[in-house]
């Protein structure tokens, strides 16, 4: 599997963008507090009181970070330095996220054994760094052994209701 989409990003700009997104989120949930139920008990300030306190507290720090980012952005020397840059493997990140979400969605339809095997194999195979045959054998073996160990510990030992298709959950 090739790596693609490796980006070099400026940390300060990334923090600025993330803080703006958080601020928008705060506005949305702040609006939601006006739909909350009024206080029922005497003295109780209502369901919206504490969330508004917290939203206000978080908003203050968003403003501090945005003001700081704005001020540093308007300074003369805005050249990106290695210190403020970081690399982000976008393709790899998206692939891993999709793989684990797919595992979550397919766990019950396909069963614990098949979905876990596919998940582990998909992630282990490109990381083995040996020849094709060895990669296949190692990935397959490790995946199967892991499935059996997890089934024994979680399913059989701890009585977690794993959606198994072939392996038993009870031994009489």
């Amino acid at each position: 599997m090739k790596i693609f989409g490796e980006l070099k990003l400026n940390k300060k700009q990334a923090v600025f963008a993330i803080t703006i997104l958080i601020s928008l989120g705060l506005v949305l949930i702040g609006y939601e507090t006006f739909n909350m139920s009024p206080p029922l008990l005497p003295g109780y300030p209502g369901d919206a009181f504490y969330p508004r306190l917290v939203i206000g507290f978080t908003a203050i720090w968003c403003i501090v970070i945005l003001a700081r980012g704005w001020r540093s952005g308007s300074q003369e020397n805005v050249k990106s330095t290695p210190v403020s840059d970081f690399s982000f493997h976008v393709g790899e990140f998206i692939a891993v996220t999709i793989a684990v979400l797919a595992y979550a969605i397919l766990l019950k339809p396909l069963g614990f054994e098949i979905s876990t095997f596919l998940f582990l194999f998909f992630l282990l195979y490109p990381r083995m760094q040996k020849n094709v045959t060895n990669n296949l054998i190692l990935s397959t073996t490790l995946s199967i052994v892991t499935i059996l160990v997890l089934w024994a510990v979680f399913g059989f030992g701890l009585k977690v209701q794993l959606p198994v298709k072939f392996l038993p959950l009870y031994i009489y």
Binding site: S37, G43, D47, W61, V96, V160
Partner: protein, 507 residues
């Protein structure tokens, strides 16, 4: 207390029973194994093993549970140190210096320090209890809703100001954690921020937040950033050929850690005696106080022995402290203590103020037993270190899939509810992005733990005092804690302001 000391010899004779010793041994093994699994904290471990106590006597059952409880607090530190995945919520702070030591090739050293610290914390707190148990019980009763609210704010002041390189980002993360904690029930009949989604009506489960925000980014980091890394954690650049020598814990290390152990044992015991506080708060306050007092406090987070010993000592000291309100007042100090209380009641043992007078033998058995539990934990943990540390030899690029699978199953094991698992994945991915831009995620987790304590106590205090905030805030203990919290926050902000000039300075 005189009765307890008088009956101590009789209790020690009880410990000489093979059945009792085997029960404690089994409890220690099970506790370590279950505590090491993400998704299985001490409460879940005790709940899972509750049926095993049906055939046991009262003495056996309580010692079995104490063994599990103590061992689980240590067991949770193993994955926290080795793969940055805390086994229980109390180890959220352990990952900071524990995992940093593993990256330096000092995994065994970290595990040993964690073990010694936990055992010393447990033993010291047991002795403190024997000498002053009833006094501590009544101290805990002085903490009403206003005091608990102030204690929660004190915790927040520590969280925001001491974690991460930038205090502003630390407080932002704290705010995010507090907001996440408001989702779901308000505790007074309202449902907040559910957007009519059934899986949000009960809020975010604590275990989902912990696994997602602490273990999730590490799993993504191992998979994404270390896809082509060939070295293992033991082969980190800083590891030298004499790694065996570096991993030894010497008498010089012991002398260095004695002040840490002493301070954090007391902190953990006192925190444990406060109903509702728990090991998470104990380890957090232990860590922050040690950072303040230690000569190497400015190096905490980089793999410093005191930074690891402090939370581990405190969270094990909480165990004996928790027994104070549980046995003396029949008020469980934590979820695990509530299950202990259930075991006692099922065996016909009635905790309460008269217990010390009416059942001194049982009290003595409990505390002598706790000493034996810690000794057993020392031996099992010490010889297990060799096995546990093998994990550090696995190449980092191959650990990622297994860590991700483990946290996935940990979240699934909680309640077999796929939306919770998807929450873990999405939050884990976001936490990975946060870490990339140096927004710390530990404050989010800790604020999430503190949030309900703060809100419920504030709301209760306001209800009791009919909305009069001054009545709540001006109580002596409350105002004292609030002043300390303010000083802590200001100190943390201004002491970090130098880092703004040099953001690469390691905290």
């Amino acid at each position: 207390m005189e009765n307890v000391l008088t009956y101590t010899l009789g209790a020690m004779q009880n410990m000489a029973s093979v059945t009792i010793l085997l029960t404690i041994f089994a409890g220690v093994i099970l506790g370590i194994l279950l505590g090491a699994l993400p998704g299985f904290g001490s409460s879940q471990s005790l709940a899972l093993l509750f049926p095993l106590t049906f055939a046991m006597t009262a003495d056996q059952a309580i010692l079995f549970f104490l063994a599990i409880y103590s061992a689980a607090e240590y067991g949770g530190s193993i994955p926290a140190i080795l793969i940055r995945t805390p086994g229980t919520p109390a180890q959220a702070v352990t990952v900071l210096d524990g995992y940093a030591m593993t990256k330096k090739g000092l995994a065994k050293r970290a595990l040993r320090i964690s073990l010694f610290s936990g055992v010393i914390g447990g033993v010291t707190s047991t002795i403190i209890f024997i000498l002053s148990g009833t006094s501590l019980a009544y101290f805990g009763l002085l903490f009403g809703p206003g005091e608990m609210f102030a204690l929660g704010l004190f915790g927040l002041s520590i969280i925001g100001s001491f974690f991460g390189k930038d205090a502003a980002k630390g407080f932002l993360a704290t705010g995010i954690g507090l907001i996440l904690a408001t989702v779901g029930s308000s505790g007074f009949g309202g449902i907040r921020f559910s957007y009519d989604q059934p899986y949000l009506m009960e809020g975010f489960p604590l275990i989902v937040i912990i696994i997602a925000l602490l273990a999730g980014p590490e799993a993504f980091r191992l998979l994404v950033d270390h896809r082509r890394t060939i070295e293992n954690l033991e082969a980190a650049p800083e590891a030298k050929e004499e790694s065996r020598e570096r991993n030894r814990v010497t008498m010089a290390d012991v002398r260095l850690l004695i002040p840490t152990w002493a301070r954090c044992s007391v902190i953990g015991t006192v925190i444990g005696a406060i109903p509702g506080a728990g090991a998470s708060i104990g380890s957090l306050i232990g860590y922050s106080e040690e950072k303040r007092w230690s000569k190497r406090g400015h190096l905490f987070g980089t793999g410093v022995e005191e930074g690891l010993a402090a939370p581990e000592t405190a969270n094990n000291a909480v165990v004996a402290g928790t027994l104070v309100p549980t046995l003396a007042l029949a008020i469980p100090g934590s979820g695990a203590a509530a299950i202990l209380l259930g075991v006692l009641i099922s065996k016909g043992v009635v905790p309460g103020p008269l217990m010390f007078q009416e059942q001194p033998t049982f009290i003595a058995t409990v505390f002598v037993g706790l000493l034996f539990v810690n000794i057993m934990l020392l031996f099992v943990g010490f010889y297990g270190t060799q096995t546990f540390s093998l994990i550090a030899r696995v190449p980092r690029r191959l650990m990622g899939p297994f860590v991700l699978l483990l946290i996935f199953l940990g979240a699934f094991a909680f309640d077999a509810f796929i939306p919770h698992v998807i929450m873990v994945i999405i939050m884990g991915a976001l936490a990975y992005v946060f870490q990339k831009v140096e927004i710390p995620v530990v404050p989010i987790v800790l604020a999430f733990v503190m949030g309900p304590i703060i809100e419920s106590n504030l709301s209760l205090a306001l209800t009791i005092h009919e909305g009069d905030l001054t009545n709540v805030l001006l109580r002596p203990i409350t105002i004292t804690i609030l002043i300390i919290a303010f000083i802590t926050a200001v100190y943390g902000l201004f002491s970090r302001s130098g880092d703004q000039v040099n953001p690469d300075k390691t905290a």
